[in-house]
């Protein structure tokens, strides 16, 4: 039977590093995906992720709602990614992105690879706050209430960002879409 996150968080708060390793194993794929798609290059994504995991462990006693660990951890990553964006600007290094993106679920056929690249290009067109809201809601499947808690923005503002992001992505990709 799977141990609930909350139990693992409490064990981590007591200094059990193995419990923390288990928590990270559960949530790492979403964190990795979010960091890469938001920042758009391997180096920044790796640094933001590593920094977030260290910060999360060191401040785990401040996780007041262990049952909402996933949101709490995502909030740390969102903030680290914002810091990196503000430091580097929102310009994505294309050459790095091309080699960084690795669709492990299905080895890309040429057409699929091209479609993936088009999506990345379209993501880069979005304003960072729209990209952030779109990825959190549609890709990582956070509710708007959770997003409000972890981004500090209001629910209406987040809905607007997601809606605009969807419109812009459709506009950018409609002509190359062959679905």
């Amino acid at each position: 039977m799977r141990v609930p996150d909350a139990n693992l968080v409490r064990r981590t708060q007591d200094g059990n590093l193995d419990a923390y390793a288990e928590l990270i194993a559960r949530h790492r794929s979403g964190l990795q995906r979010y960091a890469l798609h938001l920042l758009g290059n391997r180096e920044d994504a790796e640094e933001a992720l590593q920094d977030s995991l260290l910060r999360a462990y060191r401040s785990i006693r401040r996780c007041e709602h262990p049952e909402r660990f996933r949101s709490w951890l995502a909030r740390i990553l969102v903030n680290r990614c914002r810091t990196r964006l503000s430091r580097n600007g929102s310009v994505v290094r294309d050459s790095e992105r091309d080699s960084a993106l690795d669709n492990a679920a299905a080895p890309p056929a040429t057409e699929q690879a091209a479609w993936g690249e088009e999506i990345q290009r379209a993501l880069r067109v979005l304003a960072p706050d729209q990209r952030e809201a779109f990825l959190l809601h549609h890709v990582e499947e956070f509710s708007y209430d959770e997003m409000a808690e972890l981004t500090g923005a209001s629910v209406p503002a987040l809905k607007m960002r997601v809606s605009r992001a969807c419109e812009r992505l459709r506009a950018e990709l409609r002509e190359v879409y062959h679905g």
Binding site: Q32, R33, A104, A105, R170
Partner: protein, 162 residues
Amino acid sequence: MDEEMDASNEALLRDIVGSLRAPVSVGDGAVERAMAQLRREALAVRRWRQTVLTAGIAAALVLAFFGARRLRHPLAPNNGVTFALAAPAASRVVLIGDFNDWNPEANPLRRDERHWSVTLSLKPGRYRYSYVVDGSSWQADPGTPLAEDDFGTPTSVITVVN
């Protein structure tokens, strides 16, 4: 027509999201590096605790041996009370307390091999006191009870009798 457009838009969005949800391998190294660093830190903390514990036990044994022989408090006669502290690494130790108005200049201790001591003639009564090591570190006397202290500093208490 509008319905066709809506359906087409929905299909497009589904494809975008489906593509973005695919796992990525970027970040594997970051996760491993973070966990390795945390394990190193945890190991260092365990070793530090062990060292502090060992040093504490050793200090307690030394004090139990020398302190029992040399100190005559907490219930001490008034014909001379010797205050002593084992502080081999210290360069200056002073005694402060109710008997000298907590004046750090009044009663410096003298070094005697590894120990510091000073003998005072005190009137009968109850006194709170502490040692100041190297001008900044307050230490309670390990051989006497701790006193209540409003400021959270380590303070001991002694009662002098006739």
